[in-house]
Amino acid sequence: MSFISLLWVLLLGSLLGLELIGKVPPTLHTPLMSGANAISGITMLAALTLIVKAEGNVPLLIIGSVSLGFALFNVVGGFFVTDRMLAMFSRKPSNKK
């Protein structure tokens, strides 16, 4: 991938992000923030790449592994906690007696 095409990817990705969130009800600000936050843990892919390409370099393997741990903490925790919040909104029909 050339640098220029990566810049295009960056530009289009940013525009997409700007477009996606138009009107968000305040109710959803916290879940949305936490969900988007989980997605930013996508750096786990970079950590994986680092580990795979380390080729037996132990310090690098450790750095990659710690980085992967931090990223997955972000991703797994972020998605679970978002789901927990959103589950409360969808529970309403059950307690209407």
Binding site: G17, L20, T27, G35, L48, S65, F89
Partner: protein
């Protein structure tokens, strides 16, 4: 093109599409939960795509597998446990903690690549390529470090582990932060000049900058800061994408970065604050104590729980205004008991939710939903404001600044212009509060002085429990 490349391309494309749909869906109540799961699925898909690509091309060494498994298990386990255990009241600091760790991850990746250049990353080594590499490594470290330390400080402040030290409110802090910023710029140019050891300077100085910028910001503005830091962690991820040459990382990081920025903007608007004043203005209370400590309370009416119960019993329409104080007292369940009794007596009960009630926009909705309050009873500010004149009783529980009429009437008030709930229009207002202390902004609340306002002093949970007892004695809610 060989097969692994094509497969990875298709999977990446699909993952980006699903992530975009996920973010989109998260902004609507109906689709939010599925959207969150969709995004989680897209993330796991992207991992499968990456691993299958390496399996199909260079292969993955056993040693690498071991470290992958160790890192994944520890990270996921801690993440899952924290996500399950943490109480809903401390949601903002949890988001901050997760976010900080995302930033840390980007920082470590860039650091790893900088110290041990990966083979294959630089096969066609030329000046331009290595320049890009160094710039992206620096950006990733810089933004990642700020995200990490900033988020940790934000978390510590929300948890109450850290207060806002007085010296951080002085003008000196701008000078200190400028020094940090300049130092990181120097480290950055030194790095590009080929001096690898200055990378540590960059790490240290940008970490300090993250602390220096976040520490002076007052608690009320913290949600905005967390949202902004969330946007940063997206930018850090995109920068890490340049470091390891991954389009998927760049797209996803850019999306989160841009979406986080918009969300930050929306939140600022809800609080009537500009982003600049949040970041550089210091905490609101520090500016306002001088200008708006204007006068003491002169006309406070305090009343007993019993009187409150009697008034409630005679009401037709009651509006509850919950604030963070309610959440701190963990009284949302007790409140639900009270409102159930009132409803059984045929009294109409509605909850008025200010956009920034709680510690984060939408936080109060989550907390009330946790206490089984029906979603239909939660009314947003613009919907409920015209209803106040026709309301008999308003119960203000642990809310303060969001019901301050100064925001409408007093153009000299720092709150002026902030959208507020017009509770004073109602016939009777009860404010349940521990004492006469000021709200988050540190500003006197004119509402308390009004003739139709009565204060019920006490801990929210205790007062509500007493209220249940009084209502029971009055026979309210008994069939």
């Amino acid at each position: 093109m060989n097969l692994p490349v094509i497969i990875k391309f298709v999977i990446d494309l699909l993952a980006v599409l699903l992530l975009a749909l996920g973010i989109k869906g998260l902004s609507k109540v109906k689709s939010a939960r599925d959207a969150n799961r969709l995004a989680a699925f897209a993330m796991s898909l992207s991992v499968v795509g990456l691993l299958s690509y390496y399996l199909g091309t260079s292969g993955i060494a056993i040693q690498s597998w071991i470290w992958i498994i160790i890192g994944s298990i520890i990270g996921s386990l801690f993440g899952a446990i924290l996500a399950k255990k943490v109480p809903m009241t401390s949601m903002p600091e949890t988001v901050a903690l997760f976010n900080g760790c995302g930033g840390m991850s980007s920082l470590l990746v860039a650091l790893g690549v900088a110290i041990f250049p990966i083979s294959g990353g630089q096969e066609n080594f030329d000046f331009f390529k290595s320049l890009i590499n160094e710039v992206s490594i620096s950006v990733s470290i810089f933004v990642g470090a700020i995200t990490f330390t900033g988020s940790i400080v934000a978390m510590a402040k929300l948890q109450g582990w850290l207060s806002t030290p007085g010296w951080t409110q002085s003008k000196v802090r701008h000078f200190v932060n400028i020094v940090f910023a300049v130092a990181s710029l120097i480290a950055f140019f030194d790095l590009i000049n080929g001096n690898t050891s200055s990378i540590w300077l960059l790490v240290i100085v940008s970490s300090l900058l993250g602390i220096g910028v976040t520490l002076p910001i007052g608690g009320a503005d913290m949600p905005v800061v967390i949202s902004l830091l969330n946007s940063y962690s997206g930018i850090a991820a995109a920068a890490a994408g340049f470091v390891v040459d991954s389009q998927l990382l760049i797209v996803a990081g850019a999306m989160v970065g841009a979406a986080g920025l918009i969300l930050t903007q929306v939140m600022c608007k809800g609080m009537n604050r500009s982003l600049v004043s949040v970041l550089f203005g210091g905490s609101l209370s520090a500016q306002s104590t001088a200008s708006s400590g204007s006068g003491e309370y002169t006309n406070i009416t305090s009343c007993s729980v019993e009187e409150c119960a009697l008034t409630l019993e005679a009401a037709n329409k009651v509006i509850i205004v919950p604030g963070y104080g309610l959440a701190v007292a963990q009284a949302q369940h007790t409140l639900r008991e009270v409102t159930k009794k009132l409803e059984q007596n045929g009294i109409e009960v509605v909850y008025a939710i200010h956009p920034v009630a709680g510690r984060m926009p939408g936080h109060m909705n989550v907390l009330l939903a946790e206490a089984d309050v029906p979603y239909e009873q939660l009314k947003e500010m613009d919907v409920v404001n015209p209803d106040f004149p026709a309301t008999d009783v308003v119960l203000v529980l642990g809310a303060n600044d969001v019901v301050n009429p100064q925001a409408k009437n007093d153009s000299s008030s720092p709150l002026y212009g902030m959208p507020v709930l017009d509770v004073q229009e109602a016939r009777t207002v009860f404010v349940i509060k521990r004492g006469m202390s000021a709200g988050y902004s540190g500003i006197k609340n004119d509402l308390f002085d009004l003739p139709n306002t009565s204060m019920v002093f006490g801990d929210a949970k205790k007062v509500l429990n007493d209220l249940i007892g009084e209502l029971k004695d009055l026979g309210v809610g008994e069939k």
